[in-house]
C-alpha cells in the first residue's frame, strides 16, 4: 500500500487531509518555554491572535528522528511504501529527521523522502497533486513523476510585512533586513532551489504589490488554466482583495484562499501574503 505523508508546514486545510487520507507530522512552535504542536495544539487563527500579545518571539523546531519513526509506524505496515514529502531542506532540518527515520526503518517500510524545495501551500499543492494521482490509481513511478512535474512548474511569489523576521531567523539570503523601509518598499520574494530570495521590490500601497505579484505570475504561466491559492499570514482582508485582483488577471483560474500556518508564520511574520499557482496543461 502506498501512503502520502507530509508535515504540518504544508498548511493543508482539514477538508483535504481528510479527503485524501494524508498523514501529517507536526512541527513544534515555542512561545518561550511553552511548546505547541502545529495543527494539534495551535492553529493559524489562534497563532496570529496571540502573536502581538506574547512576551516571547515565536521559535520553531523540527520533529526528531524518533518522532518520525513513531509517526511512520503509526500508519504504515511492514511492506508498505510511504512517499514522504517535506518542506525545503534549506529552510528546516525536518527533512534530515525524516531521512534518519527512513534509514532506521528501511527493513520494515519503504520510505521515499522527498525534498519539495517549497513550503506552506506550495508544499501543500505538491502533496495534493501526489494524493490525487494516488487516488486515481497511478503507479508509484507515475506519482513520483507527477511530484517532479509540480515541483518544477509551481509558481510562488509572496511578500512580507517586514523582512526582519526572515532575517532574524536566517531564512533569507543576502538581503539586509532594513531594505527599503525608508521609502515604504516591500520585497517580492520567491522560493528558488529551496531558498527564499528577493526578485523585486515595489513601492506604494498594497494594491500595487498585488498587481506586481500577479504580473510576475502571469509572466510565468500566461493564460493557461491554473490553480491559484492565495496565502496570507493573518491578513484575510488583504487576501480577499488580492483574490478579486487575481480574478481579473486569471479569469479561467481556480482561485482559493488559505492561511499560512503558525510555524511558517513565525518566520514570515504577520502580514505576509502571496500566491501559489500551478498551470496544468495536462488536465
Amino acid at each position: 500500500m502506498i501512503h502520502i505523508a507530509t508535515d504540518s508546514t504544508a498548511d493543508l486545510p482539514e477538508k483535504w487531509t481528510e479527503k485524501y487520507g494524508l498523514k501529517i507530522i507536526p512541527l513544534n512552535l515555542f512561545f518561550g518555554e511553552e511548546a505547541l504542536k502545529e495543527g494539534e495544539e495551535i492553529w493559524a487563527e489562534e497563532f496570529y491572535f496571540r502573536l502581538p500579545l506574547e512576551a516571547y518571539l515565536p521559535a520553531t523546531s523540527e520533529p526528531s528522528p524518533e518522532e518520525f519513526v513513531d509517526f511512520y509506524r503509526g500508519f504504515a505496515r511492514p511492506g508498505d511504501t510511504v512517499i514522504s514529502i517535506h518542506l525545503s531542506g534549506k529552510l528546516s532540518k525536518t527533512l534530515r529527521s525524516a531521512r534518519a527515520a527512513a534509514k532506521m526503518l528501511q527493513d520494515e517500510i519503504e520510505i521515499l523522502v522527498i525534498d519539495s524545495r517549497a513550503v506552506s501551500m506550495a508544499l501543500g499543492m505538491i502533496v495534493i497533486e501526489a494524493a490525487e494521482a494516488l487516488a486515481r490509481g497511478k503507479s508509484r513511478q507515475e506519482i513520483l513523476d507527477r511530484i517532479e512535474y509540480v515541483k518544477t512548474n509551481l509558481v510562488v511569489f509572496f511578500t512580507v510585512g517586514d523582512l526582519e523576521n526572515l532575517s532574524r531567523t536566517g531564512r533569507i539570503g543576502e538581503l539586509p533586513s532594513c531594505f527599503g523601509n525608508l521609502v515604504n518598499a516591500k520585497p517580492v520574494l520567491t522560493i528558488e532551489k529551496g531558498r527564499i530570495i528577493a526578485v523585486d521590490k515595489v513601492r506604494g500601497n498594497l494594491g500595487r504589490i498585488h498587481r506586481r505579484l500577479l504580473e510576475l505570475t502571469k509572466e510565468r504561466i500566461g493564460t493557461l488554466p491554473a490553480k491559484i491559492i492565495i496565502l496570507h499570514a493573518g491578513a484575510l482582508e488583504e487576501a480577499k482583495r488580492m483574490e478579486e485582483a487575481a480574478k481579473e488577471f486569471f479569469p479561467a483560474g481556480e482561485i482559493s484562499i488559505a492561511p499560512i500556518g503558525p510555524v511558517v508564520g513565525a518566520h514570515t511574520g504577520p502580514g505576509a501574503f502571496g500566491l501559489v499557482a500551478l498551470a496544468d496543461p495536462e488536465e
Partner: protein, 574 residues
Amino acid sequence: MLWVYASDLQTRYANGEEHGLNLEFIEGPELKNLLAAGVECLNANKEEINDLNVFPVPDGDTGTNMVLTFQAALREVQQASDEVKDILERAARGSLMGARGNSGVIVSQFFRGFARAVGNAPRLGTLEIAKGIEGASKLAYQAIRKPVEGTILTIVREAAAKAQELQKKKLPLMDFLVQIYQHIVEVLEKTPEMLPILKQAGVVDAGGKGLCYFCQGFVEALKGENIRPLPKAEAPAPGLPAGVQSVVDYEIEDEHELDPDKIAYRYCTEFIIKGEKLAIEEIKKDLAPHGDSLIVIGDTQVAKVHIHTNNPGLVLDYMVRLGEMTAIQIDNMVEQSRERLAKLGMAANPAPAVKKKIGITAVVAGKGLQAIFRDLGADEIIEGGQTMNPSTEELYRAVSRIQAEQVIILPNNKNVIMAAGQVQALTETPVTVIPSRTIPQGISALMAYNAEAGIKKNREAMSKAIKSVITGEVTFAVRSSSFNGLEIREGDIIGLKEGDIISVGKNPSEVLLDLLKNFLKEKEDALITVYYGHDIEEKEANELEPMIQEAFPEAEVEIYEGGQPFYYYIVSVE
C-alpha cells in the same frame, strides 16, 4: 575680448617685439610654466564661463569643473621631472583623476590623446604639437558616444585641422600657435550656429570658451608677456598657503602601506615652512634621498612638505636652515598600521575580507536622500551631484572602498555620467555605470537591483527601471534668461520636467503643483513621491500631501525629507 586680444597679440608679434619670436621648440621646464599660465587664464575667467551655462539652474558649472580638472593636471605636473613625456603623462593622469563634469572628462581625454600622440619627443615643436592636438581630438571623439558639434569637441577638432595645415607651411612656432588660437576663437563664435540650444540662449559654448582661455594663457605666456611662477597658478584657499589645499587631498590619497613589514620608511613627516626665498625644486632634490612619498608644494614664501623617512631629524635639521616651521607632525606608520590591523582584527593572520559580489555607489546630496539610498542598498555614497560634480578620483575612491568583485555606479546627474565612465580606466574592478540622470532615476534603479542576480541581469533591470519614472525638480533660477518662451528672472522659482524648464513662479509649492499638472491627468492612478529639500520647513512639506491629493484624487502621494541643497522639491511620478 578674446577677439581683440588675439589680434592685439598678433599685431605685437608682427612688430617683432617678443622674445618668443625665434622660438622653435618648447622644452620641459617651459612647458610646465605654459600649462600653469593657461590654467591661470582659465581660472581668471571662470565666472564668465559659468555664466554661459545654458540652463539657469544651480548645477555643476562648466567653468568650475574645467578649472578643477586643469588644476588636478597641474598638481601632477608640479611633481614631474623636466622631461616633456613625464610632464604630459602626469597631466594626463592628473586630469583623469581630477576630471569633474563632462567638460572635465573631455579635457582629460585631450591630455591623454596629446601625450600618447607626442610619445617620446624630447621637446615640442610645430610637428609634435600638430600631432598632439590631432591625438587629443581623436581620443576625445572616440570617448564620446554621440559627439555633438558646436561644443568643445568642435574646437579641438578645428584646432587639429588648422595645426595640420599650418605645420606644412613650416611656420615659426610662435606664429603657428597664434594662428591656431586665432582660428579656434573664430570657430567659437560660430558655435551658436551649430548648436540651436546655444543660439536660443544667446551664448557661445562654455566648454569651448574655457579651452580658448586656456590656449590664450598658454600663448600669452609663451610670448614672455605675462609669465607667472608655477606655484601661483592655483588659487590658494583663504588662510592657507598656496598649494596646501591640494596637499590635503594628497593626504587622503596617500594610502599608507598596511603591512608593517612592508613599510620601508617608518616616519610620516609633515610640516609647513615659511621662508624668504624657498626654492621648491631644490628642496625636493635635497630631500629625495631621505625617503619616499615626497611632496613639496608651495611658492617662495611658504611651502608644505610631506615625506616618509627613517630619520625625521635629518629632514627637520635641513629645513630649519631655510625658514620657520609650523604644523610639524611626525607619525610612526609602523605603529599606526599595527594598531589599525589590530583594530581590524587581522594583526596575526590578515585574512582577506569576504568580498561582496556586487557593490553599489551613488552620487547623492542631502542627508535624507543619502539615508534612502543607503537603505535601498547603496554601499558608498559620494556627496555631490547638483551642488558639486564629483571628480573621477572621488568616484574611484568610493569604488575602491566598497571591496566588491563588481561595482555599480549611479551618477544620478547627467553631468556626472561621463566622469563615472572614466573610473574603469583607474581600477581593475569591473565597473558598470547605470546612466541615471536624476535622483528618482537612481532610486528606481536601486529598487530594481537584485542582490541575487548577476551583473548582466541587474544592468538590464536597472537600465530599464530608470526609464519607468518621470522626474520633476523645483529650484530657483541662478540668472535671468528666457527659455521655451518663458521669461525667467534671477531668483524665480522654476519647475523642470526631465531637465526642461516648463514652469516659472514665485512659490515652490505652487510651482510643484503646476509641474505635476503637466505630468499627470487628474484621475491618474500614479505614485507621486516628493523629496523636500533643505530649505523647506517640515510644516510646509506636511501641507503638500493634502494639496496634491486634492488635485489628483486617484494618485497615491508620499512625502519624504530629502534634505538636498538648492532643490526645493524633487518629485517622481511612476
